[in-house]
């Protein structure tokens, strides 16, 4: 057990810190607003130009070939410096790793760099109005035509769909198939003919989601990811063992816990022993997630199968984040209600309330923990 960072790791951290402290933009309007979005994209481009956008990607796509551990360090520094939410995140964290694993060289060359420098923004197209937790119930279909497919159906909860250029998702290519079979993973241009995009306001009032309608949208063969009919496997293997850490990095919650501690220091009169107990509890749980990240990094390095433990992590931070915000709201008392600006606790609370829903609800995660890790019977 050696818990000192190496000189190389320390200098990587120092370099990241220096860049971020100098450049992180302050007081951006919310990402999911017409004012805020272009400013966030600008910031992504600055990150890319300085090779901080996708540190763990290959150099040829704008990355630094960093290890998972270095990525964890970068994330700590990013949120420590108050870096804004990543406009590119559904591309670089969800589709990016899948492309790196399943994409052809042509696809990777064509897509990844543009994705990383926020030139092409991607939104996910997983859920459908009738298929949420039960993703395999999806009914959107793709009919084979000459040189490609024609796509029909509706996708929903596409985060930042109204601001994105492209989407990715599963469509049923075998009309006879059921559930997980006969699905294909498509990359779809949102400018294509036959696309309709309708914004959906999320809890804080911003246009965070979109519903995407597809009425005979042509997608060329080259935009199939992986094999036709094997889309489910591609989607499930999306990110590999580090998914638990990359979905939301520990650094994000460490920074949040530090902000909470600062708030408590700032308002001692509002912090009785009960609040102090909770602040300490949340801070410890953020720190525990950091340590679990480093622990998991070594397990991955040792070749252990830690895939299902991403559910443990998601359960942990989903609820930690909400609890932490509820403590902050308690400290703020009647002041909280009127703080709806970006970065304010109330606004960020509303954002976090979606944690136990998106990316697999907490109920689904608990099933995964019980069935895949602990071996309890599925039915």
């Amino acid at each position: 057990m050696d818990l000192e960072y190496t000189p190389e790791q320390q200098s990587f951290r120092a370099e990241a810190r220096a860049f971020l402290e100098a450049h992180v933009p302050k007081n951006l309007p919310p990402l999911d607003t017409p004012e805020g979005f272009p400013l966030h994209v600008e910031w992504e481009q600055l990150l890319f130009d300085n090779r901080w956008a996708v540190v763990d990607w290959p150099e040829k796509y704008g990355g630094r070939d960093c290890s998972l551990l270095e990525w964890l360090i970068f994330e700590e520094e990013y949120y420590r410096a108050g870096g804004p939410q990543r406009a590119t995140q559904n591309g670089i964290f969800l589709l990016g790793p899948t492309l790196l694993k399943f994409g052809s060289e042509e696809q990777k060359d064509r897509i990844l760099t543009k994705m990383a420098r926020a030139e092409e923004l991607w939104c996910q197209g997983w859920s459908e109005p009738g298929a949420g937790s039960d993703l395999a119930a999806l009914t959107s279909r793709a009919d084979k035509v000459d040189g490609g497919f024609k796509l029909y159906g509706a996708k929903t909860w596409s985060t930042r769909g109204t601001f994105s250029h492209k989407t990715f998702g599963l469509f049923r290519t075998d009309p006879e198939s059921e559930r997980h079979r006969g699905l294909t993973y498509f990359l779809v241009d949102l400018q294509a003919e036959g696309i309709g995009v309708r914004p959906i306001n999320k809890l804080d009032g911003d246009e965070g989601f979109a519903e995407v309608y597809l009425d005979g949208v042509f997608v060329p063969d080259r935009d199939v990811l992986g094999e036709v009919g094997k889309g489910w496997n591609v989607a499930m293997a999306t990110t590999g063992p580090e998914r638990g850490l990359t979905l939301r990095s520990p650094g994000r919650f460490l920074a949040m816990a530090d902000r909470l501690v600062a708030l408590a220091k700032d308002r001692p009169d509002a912090c009785d022993d009960r609040i102090r107990d909770r602040v300490a509890d949340h801070w410890m749980k953020a720190e525990a997630f950091r340590q679990l990240g480093l622990w998991t990094d070594r397990r991955i390095a040792a070749g252990e199968d830690v895939g299902a433990e991403s559910s443990v992590m998601k359960l942990h931070w989903s609820h930690l984040d909400i609890d932490l915000h509820e403590t902050a709201l308690e400290i703020l008392g009647p002041d909280a209600e009127s703080e709806m600006k970006n970065g304010a606790w109330m606004k960020s609370y509303l954002f976090g309330l979606a944690n136990p829903i998106w990316g697999g609800t907490s109920e689904i995660q608990r099933n995964i923990v019980a069935e895949r890790i602990l071996g309890l019977p599925r039915k």
């Binding site: 949420g132 039960d134 119930a137 929903t156 959906i200 306001n201 709201l329 002041d335 309330l353």
Partner: protein, 338 residues
């Protein structure tokens, strides 16, 4: 000992419920979010016509002269409809105070309130901003131990955001004067405590209504939404989320009714009873909010569906007039140190 409501009280509740179903349905509420005052156009006049605005106004001022036990079911209905009108502030907080103090302010304002011509806003010391301060006619404002009745025309307001889109919050600038004074000194202090208790009770009653409606919506949704080949309401996890929230709510409910009697009669246990009601109702409504959001999934997280308006009302009312922590702190002092 008869802890229940009369047939008349239940009938009035049912009548108001019917009015709100017709006039304050969720489309009307969504539209109110877009108005200047955050209110449903024409609704106040209908409430006045039904006698709601005059309920607590003494008969000599043109009202019916009923008390807090009569009001509590109506406030619960207002909560159930997430009704954005300042009903609690006007009928349950300002009116009883004016009636108790009497004098010129009562003579001026109570007939107007009974007639539906005046709405009140409330600004207690502990609250930071005043809801509806710009569109209300009368402001009940507290400074130190003194309570004042201030006409809207003599205050300056500056708008503030609220998480609840139907709630118009303002910072209020005003100057106390002999003309506006209702009470100060020991009387002001005692009345201030009573106003604070009334306000907390009114919030608690609305929270019970809000929680009930969130449970109802969630049950309906869980019965209809099919995933994995069955209604999601057949999954134990969904059932148990809702059952837990419902259990909390059903324990909070009688404490709100009980506290309405303590406030009406100004009993010795008024502080403890109101704190119990507000603490339990705040926590229960919040549990209903969380269960509703979780069991609906993404749809409740959007403006496509009405639940978010109820959830945001819960967020502001659970904090208003003392959070559950504040009320438990007050109760602890009385139980342990008292």
């Amino acid at each position: 000992m008869r802890f229940g409501f009369s047939e008349d009280q239940k009938l009035f509740q049912a009548t108001l419920a019917e009015l709100l179903t017709d006039e304050c349905h969720h489309e009307a509420l969504a539209a109110a979010w877009e108005t200047d005052a955050g209110w449903v156009p024409g609704l106040w006049e209908k409430l006045a016509a039904m006698g709601v605005t005059g309920m607590s106004v003494p008969e000599e001022h043109g009202g019916i002269g009923l008390d807090d036990t009569d009001l509590v079911l109506l406030l619960e209905e207002a909560g159930r409809a997430a009704c954005p009108e300042p009903l609690a502030e006007t009928v349950a907080i300002a009116t009883p105070l004016l009636a108790e103090v009497g004098g010129a302010h009562a003579d001026t304002w109570l007939p107007k309130i009974a007639g539906g011509e005046a709405r009140a806003a409330i600004g207690l010391e502990r609250e930071r901003f005043v809801a509806d301060a710009a569109a209300a006619d009368l402001l009940i404002l507290q400074r130190g131990d003194a309570l004042h009745a201030v006409p809207a025309s003599s205050v300056k307001t500056a708008a503030r955001d609220s998480v609840d889109g139907a709630r118009r919050l303002y910072a209020v600038e005003w100057t106390p004067s002999a003309d506006t004074l209702l009470a100060d000194g020991d009387t002001g202090h005692a009345l201030g405590n009573r106003v604070a208790n009334r306000a907390a009770l009114a919030a608690a009653a609305q929270l019970v209504g809000l929680g009930s409606e969130l449970i109802r919506l969630t049950v309906e949704y869980a019965k209809g939404r099919v995933q994995f080949g069955q209604p999601i309401g057949a999954f134990q996890a969904v059932k148990h989320h809702i059952a837990n929230a419902y259990t909390q709510l059903e324990l909070a409910r009688p404490t709100v009714y009980w506290a309405s009697n303590s406030v009406a009669k100004n009993t010795d246990s008024i502080d403890l009873d109101v704190s119990t009601a507000k603490a339990l109702a705040s926590d229960a409504a919040h549990a209903c909010f969380r269960a509703a959001l979780q069991c609906h999934g993404a749809i409740a997280y959007t403006y496509e569906y009405q639940a978010h308006m109820w959830m945001k009302r819960v967020l502001v009312l659970r904090e208003a007039y003392g959070s559950s922590a504040w009320h438990r702190r007050r109760a602890a002092r009385s139980l342990i140190d008292g």
